[in-house]
C-alpha cells in the first residue's frame, strides 16, 4: 500500500513506523485526495479522531493529525500534515460525518478552519470567546477577561 502511493505521489508522502504504529506524513496539497483514497480504496471507514498540535517555532506552525481505523482490515493508521497559521484545511465531514464535532473542537482550541464544514463555530468555549487555548502561546492562566467580566459579571474567572 505504501509503495503504491509513493509511486503515485512521489515525495509528497512519507510512511513511518514508531513503536509499531504506522503513520503517513503527507503534503498539505495532497490531503483531500489522500484521505478520500484511504476511505474508498483502502477501507478506512472509521475516523477515530482528528486533532492538532502546535509548534510555534516552526515555519508551518501546526500539525493536523487524523487517526483512522479500518474495520475490515483491523488496522489503525495516522495521517499527519503540516500547515501554517491562518491556513485552512478541507473538511473531512463528507468522508466521515464523525469529524463534525472534532473539526469544531480543533477550530475552537487551535484556530484552524476547515473549509466546507457545515457549521464552523466554537464547541466547548462560548461563542464570543477570544483566543485559542491549546496554542502554546496561550498561557494556562490566561482567559478572555473581557468576556468573563461582561458575561459573568465577575472580575476574573480564576
Amino acid at each position: 500500500m505504501v509503495e503504491k502511493y509513493k509511486r503515485q505521489y512521489g515525495s509528497g508522502i512519507e510512511a513511518q513506523t514508531y513503536l509499531g504504529q504506522n503513520y503517513f506524513t503527507v503534503d498539505r496539497s495532497l490531503i483531500p485526495d489522500f484521505l478520500r483514497l484511504l476511505r474508498d480504496e483502502e477501507q478506512f471507514d472509521y475516523c477515530v479522531d482528528l486533532t492538532a498540535a502546535h509548534y510555534p517555532k516552526r515555519e508551518k506552525q501546526f500539525d493536523a493529525i487524523w487517526i483512522l481505523y479500518s474495520f475490515p482490515r483491523n488496522e489503525r493508521i495516522r495521517v499527519k500534515t503540516q500547515i501554517a497559521d491562518g491556513e485552512s484545511l478541507p473538511s473531512s465531514f463528507p468522508l466521515w460525518p464523525t469529524t463534525d464535532w472534532l473539526e469544531r473542537e480543533v477550530y475552537d482550541m487551535f484556530g484552524i478552519k476547515f473549509t466546507g464544514h457545515p457549521d464552523m463555530k466554537r464547541i466547548l468555549l462560548p461563542d464570543g470567546w477570544k483566543g485559542h487555548p491549546l496554542r502554546k502561546d496561550y498561557d494556562i492562566l490566561k482567559q478572555d477577561t473581557e468576556w468573563v467580566q461582561i458575561n459573568l459579571g465577575i472580575e476574573s474567572g480564576q
Binding site: Y18, D40, Y46, T51, F71, T98, P118, L124, L134
Partner: protein, 417 residues
C-alpha cells in the same frame, strides 16, 4: 394542540426519518440513511425570519443545562412540532476544565489523577487507558501480576458503570426501583475499591508501570463473594425490566441507528454493538492481558434502545466471567515494572485506546523528551457518541429524547473535559 400527540409513540419512531439523506448530498455514501440537518447553516435555522403570524406548530425549547434527565450539564435545543422532534442541537462545554491544557503543564505522574475526573463514573478505566498509553510511549510493560489486578478492577468498574447507567436510565424512563437495586449492589464494588486504594469514585488506582498497592489481605475472598452476590442480582434487574410492558413500549424502536450509520458517525461501545457490529477493542486490538481470558462480545440486531439495554446486561455477565477467570489466576511476582522515578519518555508520538464502558477511550500523546507531555489529546467516547443524538431522535417524541440521552450513557465530565 396537535394530532400527533395521540399517536402511538412506536409508530412515530418507526416512521422513516427526514428524506434528505447524506447519500444524496455526499457521493460515496450511498445506501446510508444518515440524515443531516440543512448543511448550509446551523441545524435549527434559529435566525430564520419570523413567521407573519404566531405559528402554533413549531416550537423551539431548551432542554437543560439544569435538566435532571441530561445527566449533568448538557443543553439540547429542540425544535418541535407539537411533541414531535424536528431537529436538535447540542450545546456543550459547561463542564470544560481544559484537561488537555492542564496535561501540558503537569508531569506525566502528576497528570495521572486528572484522568479520573473525566469519566468519573468509570475512573479506573480512564486510569488504565492513560497508564498504558504512557507505558507504551516509554516502551515498558506492567508485570503480569499488575496486569491481573488491573483487569479485575477495570472489569468491576465496567459493572459499576453499567449499574449506574441502568439505574439512572430506568429512572429517566419512569421506573424507580432499579435505581435502588443497582446502587445497592454498586456499593459492594465501591467497597472493594475503597479497601484497595482508599477512594471510591476517583480512585487513581494505577500508576505508570503497574500498580502502587499490593492487593489487601482478603481481596480475593471479597471479589469472589461479590461474584456470587451479584450474579443473581443481575437476573433480578432483568425480572424488573426485560419483559416489562412499559419498558418495552418506551424502548423498543426508539432511537434506532443502523450499523452503517454508527460507523460513519464514529459511535463505539455498546451503542455500536447493539447495532449489530461485533467490535470490541478487547478482542480487536487486545490490550492489558485480555487475550488470556475467555469471553464473548454480546451484539444486538435492531440498534434500538432496548437492544442497547440487552447488550449492556449481557456485558455485565461477561465482565463477571472475566473477573472470575482473573481472580483465580493472579500470578506471584512484582506489581511494578522498572520505571525511573522521573518519567521522561523518548521523543515520539503514540495513540493507545481501550474499551472503556462507554466506548473507545483513546490517548494520543506527543512527547518532546521532557517530563511533561508536549501535547496530550483524549479521544472521549461520550463526546463522539453524543453526535449521533440528532439522527436518533429525529421524528421521535420529546419523551424519547430523554430515553435516547440515557441510552448513550454519556458522562458530561468526559464530553466537556
Amino acid at each position: 394542540m396537535n394530532d400527533e400527540k395521540t399517536l402511538d409513540p412506536k409508530m412515530i419512531a418507526s416512521k422513516p426519518l427526514d428524506p434528505k439523506t447524506i447519500a444524496e448530498r455526499v457521493p460515496g455514501t450511498a445506501g446510508s440513511s444518515l440524515t443531516r440537518p440543512n448543511a448550509a447553516s446551523s441545524n435549527l435555522d434559529l435566525d430564520a425570519p419570523d413567521k407573519p403570524y404566531l405559528d402554533s406548530n413549531e416550537l423551539i425549547i431548551n432542554m437543560g443545562p439544569q435538566h435532571p434527565a441530561t445527566h449533568g450539564v448538557l443543553r439540547v435545543i429542540l425544535k418541535l412540532d407539537g411533541e414531535k422532534v424536528l431537529g436538535t442541537e447540542c450545546v456543550i462545554g459547561y463542564l470544560h476544565r481544559g484537561i488537555e491544557k492542564i496535561a501540558e503543564n503537569r508531569t506525566y505522574t502528576m497528570f495521572n489523577p486528572y484522568v479520573d475526573r473525566m469519566d468519573y463514573c468509570a475512573a479506573v478505566s480512564n486510569g488504565l487507558g492513560y497508564c498504558e498509553a504512557v507505558e507504551k510511549l516509554m516502551n515498558v510493560e506492567a508485570p503480569p501480576r499488575a496486569q491481573y489486578i488491573r483487569v479485575i478492577l477495570t472489569e468491576l468498574q465496567r459493572i459499576a458503570s453499567h449499574q449506574l447507567w441502568l439505574g439512572t436510565h430506568a429512572l429517566d424512563i419512569g421506573a424507580m426501583t432499579p435505581l435502588f437495586y443497582t446502587f445497592r449492589d454498586r456499593e459492594e464494588i465501591l467497597k472493594i475499591f475503597e479497601k484497595y486504594c482508599g477512594a471510591r469514585l476517583t480512585t487513581h488506582a494505577f500508576r505508570i508501570g503497574g500498580c502502587q498497592y499490593e492487593i489487601y489481605p482478603g481481596f480475593e475472598k471479597d471479589v469472589k463473594n461479590f461474584l456470587t452476590f451479584v450474579a443473581p442480582k443481575i437476573d433480578e434487574y432483568e425480572t424488573l425490566l426485560t419483559t416489562n410492558r412499559i419498558w418495552l413500549e418506551r424502548t423498543k424502536n426508539v432511537g434506532v441507528i443502523s450499523g452503517k450509520d454508527a460507523i460513519a458517525l464514529g459511535v463505539t461501545g455498546p451503542v455500536l454493538r447493539a447495532s449489530g457490529v461485533k467490535w470490541d477493542i478487547r478482542k480487536a486490538v487486545p490490550y492489558a492481558n485480555y487475550s488470556k481470558f475467555d469471553f464473548e462480545i454480546p451484539v444486538g440486531s435492531n440498534g434500538d434502545t432496548y437492544d442497547r439495554y440487552l447488550v449492556r446486561m449481557a456485558e455485565m455477565r461477561q465482565s463477571l466471567r472475566i473477573v472470575e477467570q482473573a481472580i483465580n489466576g493472579i500470578p506471584e511476582g512484582p506489581i511494578m515494572a522498572k520505571v525511573p522515578k522521573v518519567i521522561k519518555p523518548p521523543v515520539g508520538e503514540i495513540y493507545h485506546s481501550i474499551e472503556a464502558p462507554k466506548g473507545e477511550l483513546g490517548f494520543f500523546i506527543v512527547s518532546d523528551g521532557s517530563t511533561q507531555p508536549y501535547r496530550l489529546r483524549v479521544r472521549p467516547p461520550s463526546f463522539v457518541n453524543l453526535q449521533a443524538l440528532d439522527l436518533m431522535v429525529r421524528g421521535a417524541l420529546v419523551a424519547d429524547v430523554v430515553a435516547v440521552i440515557g441510552t448513550f450513557d454519556i458522562v458530561l465530565g468526559e464530553v466537556d473535559r
